[in-house]
């Protein structure tokens, strides 16, 4: 089957009244979340998981995906207008975006952000459509050993690209892997690490962990910060939204570069929107002519990262859909959503359920169109949302988290898990440990164990199979290279610090 007939299937799935509605709901909620600082898209996806139980797998993925890339759009709005990134990937947009707003060019900044996101989204959707099928074909030939090593590579990537200390990130992955092993062992039926609690036999509630870490812990953290600085938000005047033709012409190369970079980085494990936008801004600063304008309201400084974060958000679906390996916590949650629906994402699912895969691809494009329509004319409405005080917002977040966690199993015990993980998440935030690698570890833990076990079963207990299989060896080497590359500068800076003392 060629790509066009596949896309036709996809649009057939996506363009039903029902799925269009879910797609719209998704991007709408995503924009909302993106605009409101203090709620991360991961937490939103986690909170809305229970909403998707009654939906078909395709509809639920379409909606969750919409939330994710919708948030990339929304985040830029607050970044430009009030200098607060609504979402972490919009941090770089504040630099030039807010500078433009101060010069009275907030309108064009918002316009170019939306336009470049749209262009990037369209191209990234094509990339997903073109590259996923061959990748899935390759993935079907993977042996268990290859899979195991691929996951090692994925986790190392997540560690390397995480902010902050590498060692902490590794520790978080390990902790996540361990937590993933809680519950009944698939092969032997033995219940592990359950502390005699029958409710833990089915493993740790993934939703409880994600909501605790990303939802409740953030709320606690924010409340604390808020007491410290409670500033009145000054909103810049928006004015004309459409950028001029000259602006557009100036931006096109930046958009193209941003898209390419974002699409590439999105595929990498641990990549996605955040890294893409930072990288795009840095590259743009080096490549573009008259770089000294950057930081003082250069429109290209808005276009490139906005294009990149949107492209990255979309291509990060590729490893999730084709390999079943999540590249960031949001993708991990989507895998969770699919598994609740009884679908194990990966090459099998992709080839057996083309409607699902192509439906999502098609919905991405439609979602981008919705976003353009939602954002350009309605900017004023979104901005007004910023006036909602946090003291009204946080009880709502808490309540949705509680309902969400409870309704997955209708078990109050899951709420106690939520409490435990909220406390843990808060501690980790305080200690500067990122919860993202932990969540990836949690999802991959059982899978890695399973693949390792199978690999060793096939090789009759010979661990060298991990090195003798060429693909597996390649992944392991790549992981090693990544680790070393990050370790070297780390050693260097540590030495420098030591020298100074």
């Amino acid at each position: 089957m060629d790509i066009f007939s596949n896309l036709a299937i996809g649009f057939g799935v996506a363009v039903t009244a029902q799925n269009l509605l879910y797609c719209f709901t998704g991007v709408f909620l995503g924009t909302l979340i993106g605009v409101l600082p203090g709620i991360a898209p991961v937490a939103t996806v986690a909170m809305l998981l229970p909403l998707t139980f009654s939906l078909s797998p395709a509809a639920s993925l379409i909606m969750l995906a919409g939330i994710y890339y919708g948030a990339q759009y929304g985040g830029s709005t607050t970044a430009i207008l009030v200098n607060i990134p609504g979402e972490s990937s919009a941090v770089v947009t504040t630099i030039d975006g807010h500078a433009m707003a101060k010069q009275g060019r907030a309108g064009p900044a918002l316009g170019i952000a939306a336009i470049s996101s749209f262009i990037a989204g369209c191209i990234a959707t094509l990339v997903v459509a073109l590259f996923s099928p061959p990748l899935a074909e390759i993935a079907l030939k993977f042996q268990p050993a290859d899979y195991f090593s691929l996951m090692v590579f994925g986790l190392v990537g997540a560690v390397v690209l995480a902010r902050g200390s590498v060692r902490k990130a590794i520790a978080m992955v390990v902790l996540g892997l361990l937590l993933g092993l809680v519950g009944t062992d698939v092969n032997s039926g033995v219940i592990r690490f359950a502390f005699g609690l029958p409710a833990l036999a089915e493993g740790i509630s993934f939703a409880a962990l994600a909501m605790g870490m990303f939802g409740v812990a953030e709320v606690i953290y924010n409340l604390e910060q808020h007491a410290a600085d409670r500033k009145v938000v000054a909103v810049a005047k928006i004015g004309r939204v459409m950028p001029t033709l000259a602006d557009l012409r100036q931006c096109l190369p930046s958009i193209a570069r941003g898209t390419g970079l974002g699409a590439l980085l999105g595929i990498l494990p641990g990549g996605g929107a955040l890294l893409s936008s930072f990288a795009a801004y840095t590259v743009e600063k080096k490549v573009a002519s008259a770089p000294k304008n950057f930081g003082n309201g250069d429109i290209r400084g808005v276009a490139a990262p906005e294009a990149a974060n949107n492209a990255g958000a979309q291509t990060s679906f590729i490893p999730m859909l084709t390999l079943g390996v999540p590249s960031n916590p949001t993708m991990a949650l989507m895998i969770g959503a699919l598994m609740i629906q009884g679908i194990q994402p990966g090459p099998q699912a992709m080839l057996q359920r083309p409607d699902l895969f192509w439906g999502i691809v098609a919905s991405m494009w439609i979602g981008n169109l919705f976003l353009l329509l939602l954002n350009l004319p309605l900017v004023g409405l979104w901005v007004r949302l910023l006036a909602v005080p946090y003291r009204l917002l946080f009880p709502a977040i808490l309540m949705f988290c509680c309902i969400g966690v409870y309704s997955i199993n209708n078990n109050p015990f899951d709420l106690f898990q939520l409490v435990v993980f909220s406390a843990l998440g808060y501690m980790l935030l305080k200690l500067g440990c990122e919860p993202a690698p932990l969540v990836l570890g949690l999802v991959l833990g059982p899978m890695m164990e399973e693949y390792l076990r199978r690999a060793l079963l096939i090789s009759l207990g010979d661990p060298t199979v991990l090195i003798t299989s060429p693909l597996s060896a390649a992944f392991l080497i790549a992981a090693l290279v990544l680790l070393v590359s990050i370790a070297v500068p780390a050693i260097r800076t540590q030495r420098e610090v030591a020298m100074k003392e």
């Binding site: 060692r167 520790a171 032997s188 409490v419 390792l452």
Partner: protein, 126 residues
């Protein structure tokens, strides 16, 4: 850096057979240890202060919600959750909070129970 890493070592005794899980668990525990010891030895910045008020208010709120949900139903449990969690905010505004509570309960009941049909008990079971 960080000193308080000890909880990571708390791997409980591995239960039952399962050869590979044991190896894997042991490996992971060893890795955790090797990460912890340097962190303990190194000098570090003092731990940042913990804001107890929001932490306690919110966690207690969720616990109470969990305890009340089954016997007293969603409406009462949710009200308790919002009111207790509201204590995290120093500038308490009674009236506003009451309105918010009513609104949120009505909103969640409408979406989750009426529209999505989640099996939640709304009122006390007698």
């Amino acid at each position: 850096m960080v000193l308080a890493r000890n909880y990571r070592l708390g791997t409980p005794a591995r239960m039952g057979p399962g050869f590979f899980p044991t190896i894997l668990g042991g490996l992971l525990a060893a890795l955790g240890l090797s990460l912890t010891i340097p962190a303990l030895v190194r000098d570090g910045d003092p731990l940042p202060g913990f804001g107890l008020r929001p932490l306690l208010a919110i966690l207690v709120g969720i616990v109470v919600f969990a305890l009340l949900l089954a016997p007293l139903g969603f409406v009462i449990a949710a009200a308790a959750l919002i009111l207790i969690a509201g204590l995290a905010e120093p500038e308490l505004r009674r009236l506003e909070q009451l309105g918010l509570t009513l609104f949120l309960i009505a909103f969640s009941v409408a979406i989750f129970v009426v529209m999505l049909g989640l099996p939640l008990n709304l009122w006390p079971n007698i």
